[in-house]
């Protein structure tokens, strides 16, 4: 793969803002919201088999859960009229239930009316409030702010705050199939699926998309982020629609999926974090949340149904991995992971955990000391996980052109088969995980963390993970020479895997082993109060925090490298 980092800013693929799909969508917001509400309504009716009793039950369940949520878990962002709305729903349901003059059809109609009010409300709530002027402003704030900080830190002297010697792109490297994604974004619709390790990811990806000259992607952001008004401003500016994780009722979920599907069909490029939330363990996601992913497949099928058989109706899935030496939230994440998987087997020794790092402090350190981040853009695939060529044609494993439409055809016709599409979603999820592993870039810090943890594990082979993590850190040390030879062994295997196209590596892994180790030790989890790896005064490798070491080690999980020990 090309080792050159992309350092120039690309020309915008669609120069006129007016032509951006997300701007068009914002212009037609009102009609779009109504369309989503209507389609969600008919989907739910389909799911209830048009049976008034089942529909009634679903309405009552939704009402009950919503009332409970309002009472138990209110947020600042919630609209004031919520209680009023659900009380109205309740009295409408009561009225329909007790009105004996209604026959079956009329009763069904009345329930449908209530359903319509609910999906309309949800649809309005989910829809984004994108404003192009805000987007531009936000983008320049992010870029400007970051590069001022960077230059202030790197170039000496006070005046240097206005220097342009360094740009953000020196810190954040973009590699991989950048030309392909730009090209396909002008022809079809992109669904980008990145790995998710840190809260910085969404800002980072937003910035990458703009560097690549692509119009903003829409994505579902947790409603909790909108609680803070400054965040709400930024999120709206980036084209985010709102996902409320508290609402797990059928009607909300169906409206949300409909919104995502319709936006893709509208031609809006979308961004899903398919892992759902940040990876708690530090491993690359292996189980994906398939809910939103299924909307990409549905949208593709719907485009074919509507006769959009050429590339303009094609949906492309682009996996992306984000590689860090340092994940700000690592201590909290790994703690959550361990207490979830270990339950009573895991307990914290003490509570003075090193989560006290503030984001501002991190940013200053990030720019002064430098901690490189690389973003790998994977090969584009169709919604079944087949690679596509430069014209967007799907290719099978032998490179033969195939038509994605054929996957949705039964007996010569496009058919809607929900169960089939569920299976396709599973398949796509597996393919994305495979691609994540292939484009994942190994950093020196991943290597040293992996080797150190596995060596410690091998030396204490009777202990399981939770005993291992409770080992007193003072008792653990690895002689440097031993460490070095094992690092070499693992790196050799990594390069073998790379030759087979199963993993990627950062250029700094081409240095000598002493340099790689020094680089890795300097960088691994560099800003944590307790460092996962350091060298003691005798030159041995020691750890200050086993859990963090485990977290950073996990980045190389899933390649069978453990078997070398």
């Amino acid at each position: 793969m090309d080792e050159n980092y992309i350092k120039h800013r690309y020309d915008p693929i669609i120069p006129s803002k007016e032509e951006w799909p997300v701007v068009k969508l914002a212009r037609e917001r009102k009609e779009f919201v109504k369309k989503v509400a209507d389609l969600a309504e008919s989907r739910i009716l389909g799911l209830t088999g048009k049976n008034p009793e089942i529909l009634k039950e679903e309405l009552e369940t939704t009402l009950y859960r919503e009332k409970l949520r309002i009472k138990q878990n209110p947020w600042a962002v919630d609209p004031d009229d919520e209680s009023v709305f659900w009380n109205e729903v309740r009295s409408s349901l009561l009225q329909i239930n007790t009105d004996s003059s209604l026959d079956k059809a009329k009763r069904f109609q009345a329930y449908q009316g209530v359903l319509h009010r609910i999906t309309s409300r949800y649809s309005e709530e989910i829809a984004s409030n994108f404003k192009a002027s805000h987007y531009k402003f936000t983008r320049s704030v992010v870029t400007y702010g970051f590069s001022r900080l960077l230059n202030a830190a790197r170039v000496k002297g006070f005046k240097s705050i206005f220097s342009n010697q360094y740009t953000l792109q020196d810190k954040i490297q973009i590699t991989g199939q950048t030309d392909q994604i730009r090209d396909l974004a002008t022809k079809g619709t992109i669904v980008m699926v990145p790995t998710h390790f840190s809260n910085l990811d969404s800002i980072l990806i937003g910035w990458i998309i703009s560097v690549l000259g692509m119009p903003p992607f829409i994505y579902g952001a947790g409603l909790n982020l909108f609680n803070i008004s400054i965040f709400a401003y930024f999120m709206n500016a980036l084209g985010a629609y709102k996902v409320d994780r508290r609402k797990k009722n059928l009607m909300y979920l169906e409206t949300l999926k409909t919104y995502s599907k319709e936006a893709i069909q509208f031609g809006c490029h979308s961004l899903f974090f398919p892992g759902g939330t940040r990876s708690r363990s530090g491993m690359i996601e292996s189980k994906l949340k398939l809910g939103l992913l299924s909307t990409a497949i549905e949208a593709q099928r719907a485009n074919y149904q509507n006769g959009l058989n050429d590339i303009s109706g094609k949906v492309f899935i682009v996996p992306v991995t984000i590689n860090y030496h340092f994940v700000l939230e690592a201590p909290g994440l790994i703690q959550e992971h361990l207490s979830q998987t270990g339950q009573e087997r895991y307990y914290k020794e003490s509570d003075e955990f090193s989560t006290s790092y503030k984001i501002s402090k991190f940013l200053v350190k990030f720019f002064t000391k430098g901690s490189d981040i690389s973003v790998s853009i994977g090969k584009a695939m169709d919604v079944l996980g087949n690679y596509v060529d430069q014209d967007g044609n799907s290719l099978d494993k032998r490179g033969r052109k195939i038509d994605t439409r054929d996957y949705f055809v039964s007996d010569g016709k496009i058919t809607i088969d929900q169960q089939r599409e569920e299976e396709y979603t599973n398949m796509l999820g597996k393919r994305i995980v495979e691609e994540f592993h292939k484009i994942n870039r190994v950093f020196s810090s991943h290597l040293v963390a992996f080797v150190a943890f596995e060596l410690i594990k091998a030396k204490t082979n009777k202990l399981d993970l939770f005993d291992l993590i409770r080992l007193p850190e003072e008792d653990i040390f690895i002689p440097y020479e031993e460490f070095k030879s094992v690092c070499q062994m693992v790196l050799d295997r990594v390069f073998e895997l790379k030759a087979q196209g199963k993993i990627d590596t950062a250029p700094h892994l081409k240095r000598t082993m002493d340099e790689i180790i020094a680089h890795g030790m300097d960088n691994v989890g560099m800003y944590h109060a307790k460092r996962p790896l350091i060298r003691d005064k005798d030159g041995n490798i020691v750890t200050e925090d086993m859990s963090l070491l485990y977290f950073y080690h996990n980045r190389l999980h899933g390649y069978g490298l453990e078997k070398l020990f």
């Binding site: 032998r398 054929d406 996957y407 055809v409 039964s410 007996d411 016709k413 299976e423």
Partner: protein, 352 residues
């Protein structure tokens, strides 16, 4: 392609006209237009002119071809009914002509190996799950078709041809495939069940061949019906554990394709697997037996693969292990039996 697709009604394709393939083709031909594929030109000739295949009756409405492309073009649904030894080859021959709109149902009971170049079962010794492929996994790996199903159950071709009542299981992850299979095959004399655990159903059909060899051995030793009951029940427990370790569910093993087929095969003296066991018990060696059989008994191959797999899976499968020692390590069969009788099977049923 889409246009070509809808221009005329499609036929149902059957690949392979061995005894089972011919029986299924004839059943399909009762309600549908059927086209069969045979590799040998003279068999194609025979079917098209005198409506027999190697002497077996073929419904006169059935057309035959030796061109994979013609079959794929004429059919949306294909039944692969080829012996497991030829399966990978045949699938590869069809792969360039298959598209994602094709539905494939196979009726082959066997396992294939997924090894690197230059590797063989002799060189690797142990097998991980990823190095073993069921037949549906072969199709998924080699072709672009994804809507795949399998057909398994107690279906002795001779009885099917006579129109005696029977049933089968169609297993697929796709409801669509199950429903199509049922629509095409169901008749007054043939019941078709559906199952979404395709791996479990395929494994049931494969693993029962091991037990069938043991059943033949028990008959050859003249051990009677109590021993056979013992074997079938212990065999089923072993199948459950192996199937679970390979990714199948318990339910499928105790269904028609598992226990149903197991009982039938363990009583069918004509089956090749049963014959191998029977002749072993009479004192012949494996080489002697195989040299007089025109087709390999699938169970022999399965014993080797499963024995190599249990070394990595960390489970015990006493019947398979002992059969392996008898077949390949010259353990006298009486000693294997002795060993099994002493084996601490203390719990009757430990999987539900």
């Amino acid at each position: 392609m889409a246009l070509k697709n809808s221009s005329k009604p499609k036929k149902i394709g059957v690949v392979g006209v061995g005894s089972f393939g011919a029986a299924i083709a004839n059943m399909l031909a009762e309600k549908n237009e059927v086209m069969v594929y045979a590799r040998k030109e003279e068999i194609v000739e025979e079917i098209n002119s005198v409506h027999t295949a190697s002497g077996r009756e073929i419904n006169p409405s059935i057309q035959a071809t030796f061109d994979p492309e013609e079959l794929c073009r004429s059919c949306n649904i294909l039944f692969f009914m080829v012996p497991s030894a030829a399966f990978v080859d045949v699938v590869r021959r069809f792969a360039p002509h298959l598209y994602p709109f094709h539905l494939i149902i196979h009726g082959t009971k066997g396992l294939a190996l997924n090894l690197g170049p230059g590797e063989s079962l002799e060189t690797v010794q142990k097998l991980r799950r990823s190095q073993i492929l069921t037949m549906s996994e072969v199709i998924l790996q080699e072709t672009v078709s994804v809507r795949v199903g399998c057909l398994a159950g107690p279906n002795i071709s001779k009885e099917l041809s006579l129109g005696q009542p029977a049933a089968t299981v169609i297993a697929s992850k796709y409801n669509e495939v199950i429903l199509e299979g049922q629509r095409l095959l169901r008749s007054e004399k043939f019941q078709v069940y559906g199952n979404s655990d395709i791996i479990g159903v395929e494994l049931s059909g494969v693993l029962k061949n091991i037990i069938a060899i043991a059943a033949g051995a028990i008959a050859g030793l003249g051990l009677g019906e109590n021993a056979k009951g013992l074997l079938i029940s212990r065999g089923m427990v072993e199948m459950v554990h192996l199937s679970k370790a390979l990714g199948g569910s318990v339910q499928s093993v105790i269904g028609l394709a598992g226990v149903g087929d197991l009982v039938t095969t363990c009583n069918s003296v004509d089956s090749r697997n049963f014959t191998v066991g029977f002749r072993l018990a009479k004192g012949e060696t494996l080489d002697q037996i195989l040299s007089t059989m025109d087709e390999v008994a699938e169970g022999v191959n399965t014993v080797r693969i499963i024995d190599a797999f249990i070394k990595t899976a960390g489970i015990r499968a006493p019947i398979t292990e002992n059969l392996h020692r008898v077949l390949f390590e010259d353990l006298p069969i009486a000693e294997a039996l002795h060993f099994l009788m002493k084996y601490p099977f203390s719990v009757d049923v430990d999987f539900v």
